[in-house]
Structure formats: C-alpha cells, structure tokens
Symmetry: C2
Subunit: 162 residues, 2 copies
Amino acid sequence: MDFESQAAASDTLQQFWTLCRERGLAMTHQRQVIYQALRDMHGHPSPEEVYQRVRRQIPSISLGTVYKNIKTFEEAGFVREVSLHHGSSRLDVNMTPHHHLVCSRCKAMIDLPHQHIEPVRLTAPLPQGFRLERVFVEVIGLCPGCAVQTFLYPTPKGDISC
Amino acid sequence: MDFESQAAASDTLQQFWTLCRERGLAMTHQRQVIYQALRDMHGHPSPEEVYQRVRRQIPSISLGTVYKNIKTFEEAGFVREVSLHHGSSRLDVNMTPHHHLVCSRCKAMIDLPHQHIEPVRLTAPLPQGFRLERVFVEVIGLCPGCAVQTFLYPTPKGDISC
DNA sequence: ATATCTGCAAAAGTTTTGCTAAAGT
DNA sequence: ACTTTAGCAAAACTTTTGCAGATAT
C-alpha cells in the first residue's frame, strides 16, 4: 500500500470511529472491515458478496456476523437498502405505464397514475450501448397510517431527497 | 354474483383464454383462478398472498403451482415483478441523492448522478397524510453487455414506457 | 466490570426442482 | 395420442435467532 492509500485508509478509519462513537457502536475489527468493504465495492452488493469479499481479509468471519452488521449499519443510517422489497417478490398486473408510491415502513405500494408526474427528463446521455426500456419514479415516504404511528413514536429521520 | 359481475367475469375469462392461446398455454382451472386473483387483488401481492387468496376457491391447490404459474405469467408478459431485486438485499453506501440505472436482465445497478435527471415534478397532490421522504428514478433497460446478447438471441420485448 | 459483539448452529422463510399422476389440446 | 400442468416432497437459498465465549468500552 502506498503512502496516499495508507493516509486515505486511516482517514476512513478515523471517520468510521467517529460514526460508531456517535451511535454508541463498538468498533470491532470485523465491523470496520465490513464497512470498508461496502465503501470499496462500487455497485450495490448483496450480503453474500460482501461476505465473500470480507473473507479475503478475515477468513474466519461468519456470514451471520456480516448480516448482523449490515442490519446495524442500516439502523445507524450508514447504508441503505436499495430495494425496499427484497423479502419476497411483489407482482403487478397493471402493465400500463405508472409510477409507485412506497411506504418505507410497512412497504405498501400504491400505483401512481403516470399523468400525476411530469415526464422524466435526462440532462445527460445514458451510457453508450444501454438499451432503454422504461423509466419509473418511486415516491418514498410514510403512508398515512405509518405516518401517524411514527408521529406518536418518532424515530431519527434520514435525508429527505432523492 | 349479480348479472353484471357474471358478465364481467365471463369477459375476463374470454380475454384470458385468448391470452393463453396466443402464448400456447393450456388454460387450466388453477391457472385461470390465479390470474383472476392477481387482477382482483389491488396493490402488489406476494406469491404467498396470492396463494392464500386462491386457496379460498381451490383449497387443494399447492404453493408450488402458484409459483410456477406466476413465473409463467411473467414470461408471457401478463404480469411484471415490481421489485427487480427481490432475490437478495442490495446495499447502497452512497447516502447522497442519486438515481439508478437498472439492467432488467442481469439486474446490475449503476448510480446515476441526480443532476443527470431534471427534478421530478408532481402534477397532482399526494394522498392526504402521506409524509414524503424522497423521490428517485429508476431507469430500466438492458445494460450494454446484455443488450449485445439480446441482439444475438432476441426475445419478445415488453412495453417501452414507464 | 459491564455491555456489546462474534461465531456457530439451528430455524424460519422464500423459491426452485424433479417426479408421477392428471388434465388440457 | 401427445403435450402440458398439478400436486407433492425434497432441496436450495436467504435471512433471522439464541446462546456461550470473546472482545470492546
């Protein structure tokens, strides 16, 4: 590892230490390596992929530990699940263009008529060779029911943006 | 069942028969009931929910049959999976606003800088009581790699729209 | 010293697969 | 008659859980 990478790594370590302290999390070696793996892996890795990568550094680590830490990181707001619906498949018989309203808490999805959103416009070209099929918008938030419950029992709120 | 519902049901049956014929699918009783359940269940049911509903009409049906038919329907283009990533969780360390490019074939996800898409605008109010958190755009299509393969081995293509 | 975390193994949940009998064409 | 499908059971895969020993605060 060259000097710059070393410096960068130690910066990130420092940052991570601060993050953990803020959330009252113990900073274990495993936890640190898992976090670093998540940062280094571009794209959107699955827990299994993270596990495979972390194992290169800590061969004795268990998959369970990876899962537990990912969950901890999600709760702490260090990472986010890209797909809100990974637990089981969700089907849609409505084959006409439409968007979705998704509740981040109870995972309910409600169709949003496509005319309720102005046509999406790109300001930059898509990657060369990408064959566009469709574009849809996910409007994420708390559905009325969950909003009331969260009002009664508030939880720390994440970014309100894309 | 009143006269109108009977007529509507028979219409749908007729349509479904046509759909099956077009795709060379046998029209079994189970298949027809599963399809009708999907149409009747608004929202975006999971296979398990479809199974529970279909069982009311055909108590002896098996969960496997429901899964197989859902897959058949997807391949035939009768239904679509809402979440392209339900197989396993996908993580995102990038907590800054951004959108996604998703390959409908290999499920790869690429971050799309938020400034590459013009701000999304609603033309109608969200449901009363919905607490908005964030909005993101999913640009679905074939990534360059999959596009080439699909060009070599073409498959029937779905709607190119939202 | 105390609270939190790891590794392990078992369990729970989801989806796929192989096979035979049954039903559709 | 021939092809496709249903039901069943086993298996594969993903994720969660409980607990004892290890580690961090």
